[in-house]
């Protein structure tokens, strides 16, 4: 009851502090101004992506600031204003006070996140009901935004074998020592570092071969553990017109958005193939080599039917060109192959250089082992016949498939944000137990960039290690520092709610459980433990003699 009393008190205190009101007003202002300021690419999908991205990022940033301010203030101001004299002389252990204060700030975060989340969610749903630019736009909204998808990365190419073979060849040809000597001479590093530098260089060269295709050449990837079964969708449709085997059906745009151009669709259990796809209707053709079931054959305009849509998988990629591309468009042929049956799906595509593209294919191309083979053929320009080398890095290609709905994923992504701000609240409360408000805020804020950009910082250090190996000491210190801070702070960038929602990437229960364990129980627990210890040993009364 003591902890709960402090928690309630903290919540009341926070709600009556103007900072909480300021948060709500700023968030409301941002959400209202967003549609006016951010137009996106003109598509409905772009508009919703912008909302989800900026809405979650703005909420995360603003809430992080509010959390640090409030959590430092609730403890440090009690000590500064001596209100702690009253609380500490009540039957309440000091750890209970600290824990209650933290819990109160977390409860405030739950309320503010709930308000922010509800606003963003309702706006997104409102936008969804708007008119899409075209069928592709609608399809993107339904399959790439209002979904929860699992991403699968391609299997790594056998680079290690190539590295080992190359090293062996250098030894055999007696060139290994010479190579090391050259590296040591040029970069002024020791022998061990020079060996690592050589290995990294060979690995990069090998990777380039697996990721770059010259004109007319092919890249291929193999994906495994794809499990899209049981994630198809169905819904009502209405027959608008009918000419022999060709039917035109209208349906809810959200359902039509799940369809693939030329993709299969079942009408009351009979499969046909889509010949035309618009945002609010589609044409389908039934196979003419066999008689139609009477139920389908007797359909007339105005009849209602149930359509079933097979699950799909998306191949997302970003292609880069090594030379100048006249119209900035890369031409390619994609072959998606079922490794067991050999069924091939072909699609010619023209994609803008360095822009993310998505190829949606029926999930039946995935074999029963969950495997899928994808090939990319670098095609020359259809008019000029010119071609450039194209690189698709392993990080820039993946297969995604639907594993759940948007609503649940939204809640889980927002919960991730709550876990992060709960950690920040612990840092703030801990700082408040022994520092003044201003110093406590300074210390807490100085940690925030490390938590938000740790992935970027780690990448920067890796780059520095490769590009400037002579800066060994700086790299070593930076790595050590980042290692220490990284082990204390959770990596906010890896579990950003906005990133998950914009990509419609599934926030799995496993990941959520891991974050609860590492961020909430372990890291937050350790920080609060330190705060308990400091506060327990602290003389709360100021020197007054």
């Amino acid at each position: 009851m003591g902890i709960w009393a402090i928690t309630r008190h903290t919540l009341a205190q926070c709600l009556r502090m103007r900072i909480a009101v300021a948060f709500i007003l700023m968030l409301a202002g941002a959400l209202l101004a967003m549609p006016l300021l951010l137009k996106g690419d003109g598509t409905l999908a772009g508009k919703i992506q912008t909302l989800l991205s900026y809405g979650s990022s703005f909420t995360s940033l603003l809430l992080s600031l509010v959390t640090i301010f409030v959590s430092v203030a609730v403890v440090s101001s009690d000590v500064r204003n001596k209100q702690i004299f009253i609380t500490a002389t009540k039957p309440l252990a000091r750890w209970q006070y600290v824990f209650g204060r933290w819990l109160g700030v977390v409860l405030l975060n739950v309320i503010l996140l709930g308000l922010a989340g509800l606003s963003v969610y309702l706006l997104a749903v409102h936008y969804r009901s708007g008119q899409a630019l075209n069928a592709a736009d609608r399809q993107k909204v339904e399959t790439e935004l209002f979904a929860s998808r699992r991403a699968v990365r391609p299997a790594l190419p056998p680079v290690q074998d190539e590295v080992a073979q190359s090293l062996q060849r250098l030894h055999t040809e007696g060139l290994y020592e010479q190579a090391l000597g050259n590296i040591m001479f040029q970069t002024n590093i020791d022998r061990e570092q020079a060996h690592q530098y050589l290995v990294d260089t060979i690995r990069r060269q090998a990777m380039d071969r697996f990721q770059t295709a010259d004109p007319g050449r092919t890249l291929s990837w193999r994906f495994s553990r794809i499990e899209p079964k049981g994630q198809g969708s169905s819904g009502p449709a209405k027959v608008a017109n009918k000419v022999k085997y060709l039917y035109r059906l209208t349906a809810d745009p959200e359902l039509i958005g799940q369809l693939l151009p030329n993709g299969p669709v079942r009408v009351d259990g009979t499969e046909g193939r889509i010949t035309r796809l618009e945002w609010n209707f589609f044409d389908l053709e039934f196979p003419q080599d066999q008689p139609l079931p009477p139920k389908i054959a007797n359909l007339t305009a105005g009849d209602r039917v149930q359509i079933g849509i097979d699950p799909t998988v998306q191949i997302t990629y970003r292609a880069n060109a090594s030379g100048d591309v006249p119209d900035n468009v890369l031409h390619s042929l994609w072959l998606v192959i079922n490794p067991t049956t050999g069924i091939v799906y072909r699609e010619y595509r023209s994609d803008t250089v360095r822009q993310k593209a998505t190829l949606t294919v029926p999930a039946r191309l995935v074999d029963q082992n969950g495997e899928l083979e994808v090939r990319y053929v670098n095609m020359p320009h259809p008019q000029t016949g010119a071609g450039v080398s194209v690189t698709i890095a392993l990080d820039n290609i993946g297969v995604t498939y639907r594993v759940g709905g948007f609503d649940g994923n939204f809640v889980r992504a927002w919960f991730l944000m709550l876990l992060h701000v709960s950690f920040l609240a612990a840092v703030g409360v801990a700082a408040g137990t022994f520092l003044s408000f201003s110093v406590g805020c300074l210390v807490s804020f100085s940690l925030l960039p490390f938590a938000m950009m740790s992935e970027w910082l780690a990448g920067a250090i890796r780059t520095m290690q490769y590009d400037r190996p002579q800066a060994g000491a700086i790299t070593f210190v930076s790595k050590a520092l980042l290692g220490v801070i990284g082990s204390i702070l959770p990596d906010f960038s890896k579990a950003s709610a906005g990133k998950f929602l914009v990509e419609a990437t599934n926030v799995s229960w496993t990941m959520l459980a891991e974050t609860v364990f590492f961020t909430l129980l372990l890291r937050t627990g350790i920080v609060l433990g330190v705060a308990f210890l400091i506060f327990h040993r602290r003389e709360l009364a100021r020197v007054q003699v």
Binding site: A5, I84, E539, V545
Partner: protein, 397 residues
């Protein structure tokens, strides 16, 4: 296990030294203080500003840790959470949350004492009535005057019906009515078996309510003992009669001269400013003039008056049984026989009591009182000087 005759507070060679960042000694706030505060005692810590009174209290409350020596409160360490449920504390300033109103403040305190909702509500109503803040119970404390904040602070200190009440400069900022009620409350609580420790540099406060006092100066105990013993002037006798005419006064002069007794002073007694003030306010209240602040306050809260304590701790039970036996031991302080009549108009009862003449004390310097064995007269004089500079009826006592 705590026995009835155990001290409520014990300190042994209690020392507190404040150090700077480099751990160099900066100030010795309290030095080797030995105190034994007994159950049902009203004990005063006296001393000028900076004498170590507040530091001593904070050591007893676990807000500071001793540098050396021991301190025990209700038989346990001051940081023991269980002990705190039996303590009420009013700090030297009412450190309250300005964004809460009086009712929310007391509710928060009640929750910290794990009180069920019904009990909490009942006590809050009674305490607000007692301290005269019922009409402003929903105003935020940030809008309260200092005196009103002291009242709510006092209510907060009493919400758990404590066995031990620790009060630091309790009447600072209170108006004379509140001050008087406060003193009556202390006496009543002491009658009920509570132990009260108060610190003050206002001697009138302490003299009125305390059984024993300890005088501190520079963190060192200079004098300790019962108030009556410390203040007794055994060399003089004072007689108060009805008004005497000049001839009778002359006869008394002659009689004293015949007996070789020196006459020190014959004066006409005058009332105290406190009494005059209370009379005027009482009349104003009787004519129903409105006020936006605290009113005179009502009855002492029932749970504080009741014969059966509601927080039935071990000590409480033992103290209650000791009180019912009506056999105070020699070691225990003599409880004053005054009895609070809560149903009567409090102001009237206050007006009726203590009509003692004010005696000019400066003439007594010709015949200085006998020093008590432990008293440091220089310190007492200093305290008297400091106090005499304060006008009667000021915001302090």
């Amino acid at each position: 296990m705590i026995r009835a005759d155990d001290n409520v507070i014990t300190t042994r060679k209690l020392t507190k030294i404040f150090r700077d960042f480099w751990m160099r000694e900066k100030v010795t706030a309290v030095y080797e203080l030995d105190l034994d505060i007994m159950p049902r005692e009203v004990f005063g810590l006296l001393g000028p500003n900076g004498s170590g009174k507040s530091t001593t209290l904070k050591l007893m409350l676990g807000l500071l840790f001793p540098t050396r020596g021991l301190v025990s409160v209700l038989g346990r360490r001051p940081t023991d959470v269980a002990v705190k449920s039996r303590i009420g504390f009013l700090p030297e300033d009412s450190y309250l949350y300005p964004f809460l109103n009086a009712r929310e403040t007391l509710d928060f305190f009640g929750r910290l004492f794990h009180q069920p909702r019904r009990l909490r509500r009942r006590r809050i109503d009674m305490l607000l009535e007692m301290v005269g803040l019922s009409s402003v119970a929903y105003r935020r404390l940030g809008e309260y005057s200092k005196g009103m904040q002291r009242r709510i602070g006092l209510a907060g200190a009493l919400i758990n019906d404590p066995d031990l009440l620790i009060l630091d400069e309790p009447t600072s900022g209170m108006d004379p009515i509140g001050t008087r009620q406060f003193k009556d409350l202390i006496k009543m609580l002491a009658e009920r078996g509570k132990t009260i420790l108060l610190s003050s540099h206002l001697l009138a406060d302490v003299e009125d309510v305390c059984h024993r006092v300890c005088i501190l100066y520079g963190g060192i105990q200079r004098a300790i003992g019962p108030v009556d013993e410390l203040l007794a002037h055994r060399q003089v006798t004072q007689i108060t009669t009805e008004s005497l005419d000049e001839s009778l006064v002359e006869q008394i002069r002659r009689l004293l001269a015949e007996r070789n007794k020196k006459l020190i002073e014959i004066t006409t007694p005058r009332g105290r400013l406190e009494e005059l003030f209370l009379k005027i306010v009482s009349e104003a209240q009787a004519s129903k003039l409105t006020t936006g602040g605290a009113v005179a306050g009502g009855q002492v809260a029932e749970f504080l008056r009741s014969a059966t304590p509601q927080g039935a701790g071990i000590i409480e039970q033992l103290v209650s049984s000791a009180a019912s036996s009506q056999q105070p031991t020699a070691d225990k302080p003599q409880l004053r026989p005054q009895r609070i009549e809560p149903d009567k108009n409090m102001l009237e009862s206050l007006m009726a009591e203590k009509k003692q003449p004010a005696v000019k004390t400066e003439k007594l310097q010709d015949t200085p009182p006998q020093k008590t064995p432990t008293a440091d007269q220089a310190v007492i004089n200093e305290l008297l000087d400091e106090n005499s500079k304060k006008p009667h009826g000021s915001k302090d006592f």
